[in-house]
């Protein structure tokens, strides 16, 4: 993990890392090619934990959205600046943190209202974006945004189903 991104992640996750059995870190340059690595890693971890295929696809999409947001809005697509993705496997849930080194976001960003597609179409927007955070909200069991002038951290929580918890307990 690159030093700056690593230090930032460490600072953000100290409170929960002690309760995690497994921690996986990925650090990628702010280039959309590498978003695919984070997304594929998310799918792999989710399936390993026993998430259904449908739920694993939810995890992949939520991670893709958070990483895309970090690349575009956090790190301004500067490939020299890293995005950190940390997977924390807890007893009954999977936590995934996506951390950028940007200038921070408005704290109310996480409570984004449902975007109006009709409005985007009516205005014939050149770049009809803004769906990512809304999708994250729909796909996760819980989400937390921490943001300040040195970066933004999205933590997304996905509950393990009863069957997956039992499987992990017996492992």
């Amino acid at each position: 993990m690159a030093n700056e991104a690593g230090a930032h992640i460490q600072e953000q996750t100290n409170s929960i890392i002690g309760t995690s059995n497994d921690v996986v870190d990925i650090t990628i340059p702010s280039n959309h090619v590498f978003e695919r690595i984070a997304r594929d890693g998310a799918g792999l971890v989710a399936r390993y934990l026993g998430f259904s295929d449908e739920r694993a696809q939810d995890v992949q999409l939520a991670v893709s959205e958070a990483v895309t947001n970090a690349i575009e809005h956090g790190n301004k697509e500067d490939a020299n600046v890293k995005v950190g993705v940390r997977f924390l496997v807890l007893k009954d849930k999977l936590a995934i943190q996506v951390i950028d080194q940007g200038e921070g976001l408005p704290a109310d960003r996480i409570n984004a209202a449902k975007p109006s597609i009709e409005s985007k179409l009516a205005q014939e927007e050149e770049s009809p974006r803004g769906l990512g955070i809304y999708l994250i909200q729909q796909l996760v069991d819980a989400v937390e945004l921490q943001t300040n002038e040195s970066g933004t951290s999205f933590t997304m929580w996905f509950n393990l189903g009863a069957a997956a918890q039992q499987e992990r307990a017996e492992a």
Partner: protein, 108 residues
């Protein structure tokens, strides 16, 4: 090429060959808008992943279609992608075709 165009008398089929519709593949999909006919079907059979950057590209196709009074349809979506399209109301503007409707519309 990540898309393949098939032109019929009354319709266009845009087959998306890339398995991901995301920020990397969005441009090529947007550029297919100039080849849409009155009725255009986007075939997602080979698509395994779509994120909001990809949805944005699809919205641009919808905008172009509406400008010119054309109709866009979606075919062969996975259950997951159908769910995501419904979350953002995209199915209102790009109705999903059943297999039978797809065959009836395109003769395939």
């Amino acid at each position: 090429m990540s898309i393949k165009m098939e032109q019929g008398q009354q319709y266009t089929i845009i087959r998306i060959l890339n398995d991901s519709i995301d920020a990397l593949s969005a441009k090529e999909i947007e550029q297919s808008s100039g080849q849409m006919q009155q009725s255009t079907v986007l075939d997602f059979e080979r698509v395994l992943f779509i994120n909001s950057a990809g949805i944005s590209a699809l919205l641009k196709l919808v905008i172009e279609a509406r400008k010119h009074g054309k109709q866009l349809y979606a075919a062969n979506l996975t259950a997951h992608h159908r769910k995501v399209f419904e979350m953002v109301d995209l199915t209102r503007y790009m109705p999903l075709l059943t297999e039978e409707e797809y065959r009836a519309k395109t003769g395939r």
